[in-house]
């Protein structure tokens, strides 16, 4: 798939939005502005960016505990993300969710989950609904290597394949589940190969190369929209920060390993490529960087100036308005 300079720069901008927002959240966490957990996506930006670039707001994304990047790439404004982690009414989930419960159905961001696994099933289910209605939308699940050992992976992929559902399963294999090495909890650490058990195509790509992800996602999504069924995409990537803010960086993994992956930073590599291929000039890129930086700083300001939700609303929406008794 050929990309225009405009499209290429948009990919760069989205990755940068994610990176700067995460860095902002890390700082805010250190300042005590974030009340709960905070799992950053630093180092994995190319995955959400390359996949979501293909999606319409009527396509649905289902994500997991490390979901900031997915929300931003799907169209959530950093303002709404940061305000949510600050626990404010202006947050994307109105302060109900925090880092692990990000909901923006208006842009097709159908939620992140504090529980590992369900997003796989829900993406298959949305795909089922699309097929039932006869639309050409797709359901996309983002999840980690750790989720691939969970029964939800097995049951979800098997049903999606059996019924040719328009779903794409994106596994972000960052080698660890919290501090557990993937290779220590499965004898077959090649996630993509597990698709064979379901008669589903499985592809592995460099998750730090946004164009490789874009390419693989494009093929899978085209296939899904055409009614040809689901695909499993394994994106080999790495989180260069700790599992969650406040946790240790190394110990379960070597400093050398972290450094080696930092050398393959998806944003730095892509920036270099844009310049080499003369898709953009230094000035152009710097303009984007400044704009993004400003957006994120203003977003943090906005979040901090936003009110906390009214305690009286704490029990709203347990049941549907239509059936409130």
């Amino acid at each position: 798939m050929e990309l225009s300079s405009e499209q290429l720069l948009s990919l760069y901008r989205v990755m940068l939005i994610i990176r700067r927002s995460e860095e902002q959240l890390a700082r805010s966490y250190a300042q005590g502005l974030i009340h709960g957990a905070c799992h950053t996506y630093v180092g994995e930006e190319a995955v959400a960016t390359g996949v979501c670039a293909h999606l319409r707001s009527s396509d649905m994304v289902f994500s997991t505990h490390r979901g900031h990047g997915h929300a931003l790439a799907k169209g959530v404004h950093p303002r709404a993300l940061i305000a949510e982690l600050f626990g404010r009414e202006t947050g994307v989930s109105h302060g109900r969710g925090g880092s692990m419960h990000l909901f923006a159905p208006e842009v097709g961001m159908m939620g992140t989950s504090g529980i590992v696994g369900p997003c796989i099933l829900q993406a298959a289910g949305a795909a089922y609904a699309f097929k039932l209605k006869g639309t050409d939308n797709v359901g996309v699940a983002f999840f980690g290597d750790g989720a691939s050992n969970n029964g939800a992976f097995h049951e979800g992929l098997n049903m999606a394949a059996a019924w040719d559902l328009p779903a794409v399963f994106v596994c972000e294999n960052n080698l660890y589940a919290t501090e557990i090495a993937y290779a220590s909890v499965t004898r077959n650490p090649e996630v993509a190969t597990k698709a064979a058990a379901y008669g589903m195509p499985g592809v592995a790509v460099d998750g730090n190369d946004v164009l490789a992800v874009y390419q693989a996602a494009g093929e899978a999504i085209t296939r899904a929209r055409a009614g040809k069924g689901p695909t499993l995409i394994e994106c080999k990537t790495y989180r260069t920060r700790s599992h969650a803010e406040g946790m240790r960086d190394a110990g379960y993994r070597t400093v050398e390993e972290i450094e080696a992956w930092k050398q393959r930073d998806p944003i730095t590599m892509f920036r270099k490529k844009l310049l080499e291929d003369e898709e953009a000039g230094e000035a152009e890129l710097q303009a984007i960087e400044t704009e993004v930086q400003t957006t994120v700083v203003e977003s943090a300001q906005f979040a901090q100036n936003s009110p906390y939700p009214d305690g009286a609303t704490a029990t709203a929406n347990v049941f549907s308005e239509s059936t409130k008794t």
Partner: protein
Amino acid sequence: MRELTFTAAAREALTEEMARDASIFVVGEGIGPRGGNFTTTQGLYELYGPMRLRDTPISERGFVGMCTGAAMAGARPVVDFMFVDFILDAMGELINQTAKMQYMSSGRIQMPIVLRGCIGIGKSAATHHSGSYYSIFANVPGLRVVVPTTPYDAKGLFKTAIRSDDPVIFLEHKLLLNNKGPVPEEEYLIPFGQANVARVGKDVTVVALAAMVPQALSAADELANEGVAVEVIDPRTVSPLDTDTILQSVHKTGRLLIVDETFMPCGIGAEIAAQVSDRGFDDLDAPIKRLNGAFAPTPYSPSLEAALVPDAQSIAQAIRDLLAE
């Protein structure tokens, strides 16, 4: 009025609703061409085909999660578990996803899903096919829990369930499925949270559910011969629970016995007793009594099975003891 069995009445409700609304689909094991282990979907596959009557693999967690996602995308799934015992593998999806989705999305996503299954002790089904679990579901915010007794209630409550935008657990007792009763030809719906006064009486109030209702009614007949007028109340839905009707009855009788086939600790009988011992305290002329099935797994042999469950005799005796208080 014409008479239908419990199952036929519920099936008629499903059939009418599927004709009304093309977004309704059913999943389960054997609900397609086979028409359901309990004939819950008989004849529907021929009308609506595989997308709307989807035979599934043995992936209970998977298809509950899938249907949750489908509901998020605007479909209206009906999950047919055959035996509700099989829902336990899906409790994580049900409690953390299905039941919480409306709250987590601050009301932007609705969850119109019906989960149905056969409950109850009987026919030597043994311990993996005799569970009821409605007291557990009643402890989960976001769920509606329906336990009909008559064919009339089965149809009217199923229609309300399927039109509800909240997740509804619809439980069908195995000893009631083939019972016949009057069911009007013309459409009707029964709202949730309205108990049925199955028999009017002034001396003592007996609250009973599902298969215990006919037992309580024959106990009432027996007591009538002894000059005791028993009022029998069938809550029909345990969540929401119609405590007002129970309180009004206790106001009249001053005495309350709750009969429940399922386990006593933290059961629906406990909730009713707690409500009445608070709001109905001044009306009570005697201790509140509970008669429950034994706190044990369900054995296979008829001689053991029968020993576990209340029946007309033990209910009648419990009423006599309560009147003697």
